[in-house]
Amino acid sequence: MNLSRTSLSTILVSALMTLSACGGSDSTSAVDSFVSKVNAAYAGLATSSGLTSAAVADLFDAKYLDMGSKKTDVLGTLSANSAALATSPELSLFPLAQVTNPVISNCDANSVCTLNATLINSDADTTSVDFSTKVIFVAGVFYFYGDQSSTSPT
């Protein structure tokens, strides 16, 4: 069962019924809101202030863990980049991307769901890939939750 911007009516009656704060239109707007926040925060990563903004911090659940990287690690890396940008004008920007076509599914009793979406970079040649990650729904808001794996990617 998928939760998407285009198939909203199924939200209430299936997997997300377990989410106490989740209602149909509310959930839909929560998905849209989340993706909007993600894209706005991602776009802001090109600036020093954006790297350390509350908006980017607000994308991640406190229990975020993705291939060994915790929320504090993510924010620490972003903060380090912000600091480096101030002194190193040559610093390479993080590759940026936008998220489209979000579909949320497979929510469990802990409100942890699967987000399937498309990641697009359009710096020069458009690169588009489908991806999947875990998100968590808390008080009507989605957050990145990560794969909860402590294994670092190689």
């Binding site: 040559e90 040649d125 890939v129 999947s132 990560g146 990617p153």
Partner: protein, 717 residues
């Protein structure tokens, strides 16, 4: 006799002469260009080092060009004979230069079995005193009187400067425009103090796509007159009245001979030939290029291990300090080396061998290693030492075509050389736009380091990219994105253009602790390469792999990395100068960081393989580069347990006698193994061209990762 290299001796002599070795020219550099400022580009194939009868080659210019850009389809080509002089007129064609029946009575490729017995080509090979083997003196309207400059021999040899300026250039430009490919003329310089260098001074030349009034190779000709060790002409180019001085090079200008208006002599002991004087003259040549044609010249030492270590009295070889000197003098001109030499089908691969320069004067490393000289082939060796300084020092290959040994030029077997494009290729990024495929764009591509080289069409496309990992994007998604970008790029024979990513010859600049994702997409071309042999690869047969020799399969790719510790000052002689294997010529941090093969890469359509490697939490400036081969690790006599190439000279030891007496190491026992292989007591051994086709490699140029609070990578952009 060789003279033992003496660091102090050299350093003192050089500084006493001219003080030319400047403090390392640390350049400021920006990170990789923003994606949108990079015009879309394509990798194009070419070769810049080959010979005609205007030096010691065997073909006319026209036939050599035809082989290179038509038969073997190179996109660009540089005809580069030795400097000095020659008696033969390479501008005359083989007779007739038109499609003819295959030479030497071989089976026609149109009717013979596949693979065809001959290469389709125009022009019968010329016999002695026919076609391009005729002398200048016998073929010019006024004979000897038309040959300028010094000389008393009969027939009189023509200085290369005159050949280039008055005769060869026109043929080159005509061929370029007629074939609609960038083809221009360079010189394989006999470098004073050293052995050979592939050079170009393009300024003035107008190869395709330029049109209209003919250009000229006057500056290339002048460079040859001024700086080739074998050009002892003192005429100043006759009516040209050249002066070889370089502005603001007062000390070196003081060495200029008042009559010849050039620095005479080379390495030696006294007078014109003083200790290290040749090296000084070579540096002056680079400086001259930088003054006259700073963006359209290059200086790339050729087969630089072959002649052995540097000798301050004789003129041979290069040690690492000379490469550093070259790069310091003009990093925009001296930016790499041909460590994958030509002559890959010769009796000793690349012509590297023991006693190359006489008794006791071995090639450095003695042999090649998988067809590559030890300076690039040894992980942690000379190349890694230069990259470990953060220099822009790139890897190139060349065919160095002269002849096919006991075979004719249209035959497919060879006991000496392969044609340009037949076996080795340089793949160079050329950006599209107003200059699209042009000689200038190709030289820009060579200089950029955005290139790779390989043999036997092991791979024909490569997208190699390093991106600073965006921590706000889930790691798997980010990896997938970068891999897809690499896949897209290789599909288009292009590069990845994403902000925060760098490709070969470039750098990314990251904060300490950042992760870097390295993605690679290569294409292992399907079908057959140019090898005429379809019997099983004898090297692989040792390990029970049956693979046609003309249908190689990429076995694995090594990701090699090392740390960057900054430029070494010339005054730090212990770290700046030394022989292969010394601390000065090593990078102890370099190693194989990751191995990819069919077990951990993703196979895509059309022979494309995609893979990624994540460098976690970088703290030190570093680089990554690639090599790959068709041979698994621990292939006897070919690769060691770590996959490093073994010494080809051990596989194919030299026979000093005319008749082979020393067995090879790998038997070629298929019924189709050709008769020309080394054969002892009826046993054939993998050798000559078969040994070359059996052992294929590619090398990428590096990508640098500069960490903001670590060492600056000064040589890369």
């Amino acid at each position: 006799m060789s003279k033992q290299f003496n660091l102090r001796h050299t350093a003192l002599a050089v500084s006493a002469l001219v003080g030319l070795i400047s403090v390392a020219a640390v350049q400021t550099a920006a990170a990789a260009d923003k994606a949108k400022t990079k015009a879309a580009g394509t990798y194009v194939t070419g070769d810049f080092h080959n010979h005609s009868t205007c030096s010691d080659g065997s073909l006319s210019m026209k036939k050599l060009i035809d082989k290179s850009v038509k038969t073997f389809g190179l996109d660009w080509f540089v005809q580069a004979d030795h400097g000095g002089s020659s008696a033969r007129n390479c501008t005359l064609s083989e007779d007739p230069f038109e499609p003819v029946a295959p030479a030497l009575g071989l089976t026609s490729s149109a009717t013979g079995p596949y693979p065809p017995a001959t290469f389709p080509s125009a022009g019968q090979p010329a016999a002695t005193l026919k076609g391009p083997n005729q002398s200048w003196e016998s073929t010019l309207p006024n004979g000897r009187a038309d040959i300028k400059g010094d000389g008393t021999a009969t027939p009189k040899a023509m200085w290369r400067w005159q050949e280039i300026k008055e005769f060869q250039y026109k043929v080159t430009e005509d061929e370029s425009r007629a074939r609609q490919k960038p083809i221009w003329i360079g010189v394989e310089q006999n470098a004073p103090g050293h052995e050979h260098v592939s050079t170009t001074v393009l300024q003035g030349q107008k190869p395709w796509p330029q049109a209209g009034v003919m250009g000229n190779a006057t500056l290339q000709a002048q460079y040859e007159y001024c700086f080739d060790r074998s050009d002892t002409d003192t005429s100043r180019g006759a009516e040209n009245q050249w002066d070889c001085s370089v502005t603001a090079s007062a000390n070196a200008n003081a060495l200029i001979d008042p009559t010849a208006k050039k620095i005479k002599g080379a390495n030696g002991t006294t007078g014109d030939n003083a200790i290290d004087k040749g090296h000084v003259k070579s540096l002056e040549g680079i400086r001259w290029m930088n003054e006259k044609a700073p963006t359209t010249s290059y200086y790339i030492p050729a087969h630089l291990e072959r002649a052995g270590k540097y000798d301050s009295i004789a003129n041979r070889g290069y040690n690492i300090e000379h490469l550093r000197d070259f790069n310091n003098t003009a990093p925009n001109i001296a930016f790499g080396f041909e460590s994958m030499p030509g002559h890959q089908a010769s009796a000793t691969r690349g012509e590297y061998r023991a006693n190359f320069g006489g008794p006791g004067i071995d090639s450095v490393g003695v042999g090649t290693y998988g067809g590559t000289g030890i300076y690039a082939a040894r992980v942690g060796g000379v190349w890694d030492a230069l990259l470990g300084e953060g220099r822009n020092w790139w890897f190139f290959a060349s065919s160095d075509y002269h002849n096919r040994g006991q075979f004719g030029p249209d035959q497919r077997e060879s006991t000496q050389d392969f044609f340009p494009g037949e076996y080795q290729k340089d793949y160079v990024m050329v950006r599209k736009g107003t200059n699209n495929l042009s000689a200038e764009g190709i030289i820009d591509g060579l200089r950029s380091g955005n290139s790779f080289a390989g043999s036997g069409d092991l791979i024909d496309r490569l997208a190699f990219v390093a991106c600073v990992a965006n921590p706000a994007i889930p790691a798997a998604a980010f990896k997938t994105l970068v891999e897809k970008a690499a896949l897209n790029a290789v599909t288009k024979n292009a590069e990845v253009r994403i902000d925060g990513c760098a490709t070969m010859g470039e750098k990314i600049v990251v904060a300490p602790g950042a992760d870097v994702v390295v993605s690679i997409a290569v294409r292992d071309p399907q079908g057959t390469n140019n090898s005429p042999y379809s019997f099983p690869n004898p090297s692989l047969k040792q390990i029970n792999i049956t693979q046609p020799l003309n249908a190689p399969v990429l076995d694995h790719i090594d990701v090699i990395g090392g740390n960057v510790t900054g430029y070494v000052s010339p005054t730090n002689t212990a770290s700046y100068a030394g022989l292969e294997g010394s601390a000065a010529a090593s990078n102890s941090s370099a190693g194989i960081k990751k191995v990819f093969n069919s077990k951990n890469w993703t196979a895509a359509a059309d022979g494309v393989r995609v893979m990624s490697y994540r460098i976690a939490a970088v703290k030190l400036s570093q680089y990554v580069r690639l090599r790959g081969t068709n041979l698994p690790a621990a292939t006897p006599f070919e690769t060691d347990a770590n996959g490093n190439p073994l010494n080809d000279y051990d596989l194919i030891p030299q026979d000093d006698g005319v008749t082979a007496t020393i067995p090879g190491k790998v038997k070629c026992d298929d019924a189709a193994c050709p008769a020309h292989l080394r054969t002892i007591n009826g046993v054939k051994y993998s050798s000559f061209d078969v040994a070359g086709w059996a052992d294929l490699w590619f090398y990428s140029n590096p990508i640098y990762v500069e960490v903001t609070n670590s060492v600056k990578v000064a040589g890369a952009k």
